[in-house]
């Protein structure tokens, strides 16, 4: 159990406390990087840039935060919007939004690494072929332990829509992973 909740840290940041900001960044840097890394199809450098932008936007809007509103959904809502903006701009520039080669992070012996790398590559490719709206709900739900209500708050859509996106997305994922085997 953390000594201070995210919401208490946000309150501290509103009062200009740098220690609270450091704690919040240390707590969420890793999970946000993971989320954006998977959202960007494994582009680590881009994910790191988007994480920085997420925190900058959080800081610029911190005065509009009202305690005790849950902070985590708000933080992820910012991250989702930043990722979406990135893809909109990529579309605007007519550039490829996804890297062709994924830099997959695995750990283990060289043999297991080889097998795991191949399997992970399959998962990454299958995920990247999903529409953005389905990809983001699957990531938020199964990697970041968010409830349906929290995801509904983040994406500003009804729970029913979230469930429908999850169901369709997971079925597509299943089909792709089975087909590639």
């Amino acid at each position: 159990m953390a000594l201070f909740s995210d919401e208490q840290l946000a309150l501290g940041i509103q009062h200009g406390r740098a220690d609270d900001l450091t704690l919040l960044v240390e707590r969420h840097h890793g999970p946000l990087l993971g989320f954006l890394y998977r959202m960007t199809g494994g582009d680590r450098a881009l994910a790191e840039d988007l994480v920085q932008e997420t925190f900058l936007r959080l800081l610029s809007k911190i005065d509009s935060y009202r305690y005790p509103r849950p902070l985590k959904p708000w933080l992820y809502a910012i991250a989702v919007n930043i990722a979406r903006d990135h893809y909109k701009q990529a579309e605007f520039r007519h550039t490829d939004s996804m890297p062709t080669q994924f830099e997959i992070s695995v750990a283990g012996t060289p043999e297991t690494e080889l097998v795991t790398n191949e399997e992970t590559q399959q998962v990454a490719t299958a995920m990247n072929n999903l529409p953005l709206l389905q990809r983001e709900v699957i990531l938020l739900r199964y990697f970041h332990e968010l409830s349906l209500d929290e995801i509904s708050q983040i994406l500003q859509v009804p729970v029913g829509t979230i469930k429908s996106r999850l169901s369709v997305g997971l079925q597509r994922l299943k089909e792709r992973l089975t087909a590639e085997r």
């Binding site: 800081l59 199964y142 079925q171 994922l173 992973l177």
Partner: protein, 278 residues
């Protein structure tokens, strides 16, 4: 997360325990995709950047904002081409001398040469505030935290302020040397047309990105407006409102505000578009 919890989650999402059981291996595979953790150096750098911003926000008092505004003005002082300052200075100085000579041989009225010269001198400076040739350091500018509109406002304030000061100085010299010229009537005769013509030049430049074309358009309009005064006996086939008349001044002020807002809106949007392209 154990399988029991995962199954419960999948059942909640799909409303079907059978479907949930089918999808469980998919989630297992999905969770094999590990993301790299952030490096300690990255977290430290991020907290440093955010810490500096937090500190700046803490100090975000009126004086701090004024100081930031002053810094933007100083930065633009170096960007604005020095020829603009020199040209404004020379034209205003010559205008003062010509008006002095004219007032010695002619009856004094509101359409003194200075009233005709000051607006054109200011419009010429403003026309060269913006555009690709004036912005060689666009990429550097785009990386600064100051918005393009703030940069444009700073340049407008600088150049217009410079011309205003020289206009006031010229008027003061004329009213001191000539007892038949009063300071305030003279200032009010050129100030409204100068503001209007400057804002028109500003808008034209942001629209066309061509300072020369903008200057020519403003000069043309001003010559047309004053043709009957400059060349006695000339008659225009259409009527032109007298922009130096006291009755048109409120309209000129209103138009100047509208044109400047449009120029700032368009200039900022265009910069935004360029930022996206960069």
């Amino acid at each position: 997360m154990n399988d029991e919890k995962l199954l419960a989650k999948l059942s909640e999402d799909t409303d079907s325990p059978e479907e949930a059981a089918e999808l469980l291996p998919v989630i297992h595979k999905l969770q094999e995709w590990k993301a790299p953790p952030p490096l300690l150096l990255e977290t430290t750098r991020l907290t440093e950047v955010l810490g500096r911003l937090l500190k700046a926000r803490r100090n975000s008092t009126v004086s701090y904002r004024l100081y930031l505004g002053w810094l933007v003005l100083c930065s633009q002082l170096r960007v604005v081409q020095y020829e603009i300052w020199a040209a404004s200075f020379i034209v205003m100085g010559l205008g003062t001398l010509v008006t002095l000579g004219y007032s010695m041989s002619h009856a004094v009225d509101v359409t003194l040469p200075f009233v005709l010269i000051a607006p054109v001198a200011a419009a010429a400076g403003i026309a060269f505030l913006y555009g690709p040739s004036v912005d060689p350091a666009l990429e550097i500018e785009l990386t600064t935290p100051v918005s393009p509109r703030q940069v444009l406002v700073a340049r407008l304030v600088l150049v217009f302020g410079f011309d205003l000061i020289f206009g006031l100085m010229g008027s003061a010299v004329l009213s001191l040397l000539r007892t038949d010229i009063s300071f305030w009537p003279l200032v009010s005769a050129w100030l409204a047309p100068m503001t209007f013509l400057s804002s028109l030049a500003f808008l034209m430049t942001t629209l066309t990105l061509d300072p020369g074309l903008s200057l020519l358009a403003c000069l043309g309009l001003w010559i047309l407006e004053n043709l009957t005064r400059l060349v006695p006996g000339v008659r225009l086939p259409f009527s032109v409102p007298d922009l130096t008349a006291a009755t048109t001044r409120p309209w000129l002020w209103l138009l100047a505000v509208l044109l400047s807002c449009a120029a700032l809106w368009f200039g900022g949007s265009e910069e935004h578009w360029l930022r996206k392209q960069a």
